[in-house]
Amino acid sequence: MAELTLPRPTGRRPFHVGLALALLGTVLFALVLARQPALEGPQATALEQLLLWHSLLPRAATALLAGAALGLSGALLQRVLRNPIADPSTLGIAAGAQLALTLALAFAPALLAVSREGTAFAGGILAVALVLAMSWRRGFEPVTVVIAGMTLSLMAGAMSAALILARGDYVFSLFIWGAGALHQQNWQPALLVGTRLALGAGAALLLLRPLELMTLDDAAARSLGMAVQGMRLVLIALAVWLAASVVSQVGVIGFVGLAAPAFARLGGARRPGAVLLAAPLIGALMLWITDSLVQLTASSGGDLIPTGAAVGLLGGPLLLWLLPRLPASPARPPMATGHARRLRRPGRALALLAAGAVLIGALALLAGRDLDGWALATGPVLAELAVFRVPRIVAAAAAGGLLGAAGAIMQRLTGNPLAGPEVLGVSAGAGVGLALALTLSPAPSAALLLAASAGGALGALALVLLMAAWTGFAAERLLLSGIALGCTALALLSAVFAAGGPGSFRLLAWMSGSTDRVGAHEAWMLAACALVLLLPVAVLGRWLDILPLGAGVSAALGVPVGASQLALTLLAALMTGVAAFFVGPLSLVGLIGPHLARLTGFASGRSFVFASALIGAGVLLLADWLARMLAFPYQLPTGLLAALVGGPYLIWLLQRGEPRHG
């Protein structure tokens, strides 16, 4: 079972560590109180009292209670899903809740007046349902669940970004929620989270026996008289409720739910009851200490970094640290061997796919809307519009092709059907590079932005490769390193968003994924990159055929396992990094392309990758055309549109699944 294997501590260490943490928290809070600026004026004393009672104390209480609620939520999820890396952030619950609040603010503000908490809960439940649906076929295997959760979080983030862009500065409070801020002006949030925590803890106490039985496998638990699935649903709903109540009051606070149970287990808690007791306490202290540090580093112009983002920065390193301690999953039958159907003439099918992509490209070039309605461009009008349409078409096709190919390589490498190129962390790295350029330079040129994004992507790539090499290139380790890096990068980005300003709007445009800034120069550069990166696949086909058979077989067949994995990872990451600059961090094209290619029956490594690339190109071409047409003259973000159109289809595909392919 997926239980952490941690060194067993001796003696009374856990108690001492807890005491030390509590002491640290108290000292920091005393410093916060002492550092309050003295007020002036006749009512200064009364005001200072008021601030203490209505701002400082409720803030501390909210930090403690929210931390405890998240800790409990994480502990419950980890127990129920038998997944040591589950928590409200990795499962996409926080992102789903936040997206629901964002949508409500933009389209139905009255809903927020009725119930912020209910809105957030609906979003969280929907998110967790989607994540579980996507990972159903893989038996809720930890890494797969987390990949699905992170993909969903990215998607929710892209949607929020698009909404903020469309509503302008107008909704700057959305930034605050995204990064989780604990400022308070009354006791109401503390009371709300506190009562939910009390109810949740009571329920957990009542359900302690079923929770203990959850350690067993389902059959054993059922034989002891437990309605396993029903109990699981109840407990998941409870965990989502706890997390949603926190999100509705203070925004997204990442990874406390991941860290608290892990630290509890590290501190020696073994039985479910002990973990369920220790995790909330540790979570409370963690958030309290972080928030005090945030207050101590704040200038009079506001916090340096919002508390939620500060805690979120912990997420990446923590996942990395947990990584070598994750048990290796039981060996799976390699996914590439058995195919439901196999094309007899893959060459001809590839040609058909290429023709299809060209056809969509032609449609995108010729058909469009002008100020009066639909129009087919011909002659001089076409020549005039081609200046704008050709670069976008070339960029969409090249980026789609690159993402499709990268996804195909990733799936062959990891044997995981959810391993899209987005989870490599490379695109998030590109975002951090962009953020840096936008923060440091007031009016960066396109070339500078491209260079910064490439630098960020390469930096992230180097880190992922380093971590993967350190853990020996096991597929799961590679995926988790990518996710860990992505988490840290996203926390950094949310801190940049929280500060607002013109730079953050450019970054939002990138987040939501848009091809509209591609000039002719960039488009042809991207096309050249695509060719250079796709051509090596033609000679790497053998590796792609053999590697999925496992390290032993591969070595016996004369494939240099380590070197080939390194080369393929590098190739996939470069493809992702280049494409990400143009279409943003998430488009799901890297997942949709390979799935459709497999369904069509492309079996050999080479034809599989090329087919995925062609399908990816076609999908992104179509998405880009729709993005330009649907709300003309307003343009929708291409990447987001591809994700919205492709997402439901992908979930349906994964649900339907072919058991033999996992």
């Binding site: 509503r167 409070s173 801020a181 009079s300 506001g302 709007f505 848009s514 800034r517």
Partner: protein, 302 residues
């Protein structure tokens, strides 16, 4: 109705006629300008020039409100992602852009020559730059007299408000937006509002620098540091925030709120041009003159 805005509206109504008049064609072609930037859109409209295309008009009408945009202006979509094809179809002969959109300039140049006028640059006070932008627009469109008229009109309006507000001279003000019931952002001395305050003879209570005219979101409790300031709250006020704050002990105990030393102003574009400056001065003047009347409404922000 005060003379200022009336004049601007008259000028605006006259603008199409001016374009049709033979005099306007002195330079050979009709004036067909487009703009991506909102501050420049305001300035153009304020000068009586109706552009053929401008960006994100749906939100502009909500946030900037004035000058009103004639229906003939084609909306070319989001400022951050304008539709180049739609812009091309309006056949502009000159496109105005600013530093925010530097990245898309090469593409814009495929459509028409681009004139980049940046009013907002980190650390640079915007009012003088807004006047310079109007002058430059006057030069490139051959409408220098309209530019001079706009600059003079806005100066005169602000000077008139200053006269009206003589009894408030030197009064500390805090201009802010509410994000939710717990956060606000404040406009510093380097913002358009900050400069208008100075020109009105008022003081900006926010002495610190801000990173981009407005500050990052700040916790509401920071307001307690400014018990003497008059709070100028710009709409939109989120409905959620208005509801929670009206019952909040901290909010209602703030000396400014308790003594009704605050006003809620209609939306003004914080990154606007000269017309936004005039609008802010007018709304603020009216609010300060009506200060006494707000009594009895409590901390209600409705």
């Amino acid at each position: 109705m005060r003379p200022g805005p009336g004049l601007s509206r008259r000028a605006l109504l006259a603008a199409p006629l001016v374009l049709l008049a033979p005099g306007a064609r002195a330079e050979g072609t009709a004036l067909r300008v487009a703009t991506i930037d909102w501050a420049l859109l305001e300035t153009l409209l304020g000068m009586g020039i109706t552009p053929v295309a401008a960006a994100e008009l749906v939100l502009f009408r909500e946030v900037a409100v004035e000058p009103p945009v004639p229906p003939s202006v084609v909306d070319i979509g989001l400022r951050g992602a304008p539709n180049f094809e739609a812009l091309r179809l309006t056949r502009p002969s000159l496109i105005f852009s600013s530093n925010y959109y530097a990245e898309m300039e090469p593409t814009l140049r495929l459509i028409a020559p681009v004139e980049t006028l940046s009013i907002y640059r980190t650390g640079d006070p915007p009012f003088g730059r807004a006047e310079a932008a109007a002058e430059r627009i006057g030069v490139v469109t051959g409408r220098e007299e309209a530019a001079r008229a706009l600059i003079a009109r806005v100066s005169a309006q602000i000077a008139a408000e200053r006269q009206n507000l003589a009894s408030h001279a030197g009064r500390p003000m805090l201009v802010l937006n509410l994000g939710d019931s717990r956060h606000f952002r404040v406009f510093g001395a380097d913002s358009l509002f900050g400069e208008v305050l100075t020109r009105l003879g008022l003081a900006n209570a926010w002495g610190e620098r801000t990173s981009y005219a407005a500050s990052a979101p700040i916790g509401l409790e920071a307001l307690a540091r400014f018990p003497d300031a008059f709070l100028v709250i710009l709409r939109p006020v989120p409905p959620d925030a208005a509801r929670v704050l009206s019952t909040s002990a901290l909010w209602n105990a703030l000396p400014n709120v308790r003594d009704r030393r605050f006003a809620v102003l209609d939306s003004v574009d914080p990154f606007g041009g000269l017309p936004a400056a005039a609008r802010f001065a007018r709304l603020l003047g009216a609010a300060l003159r009506a200060e006494g009347e707000a009594a009895g409404r409590g901390g209600d922000l409705g």
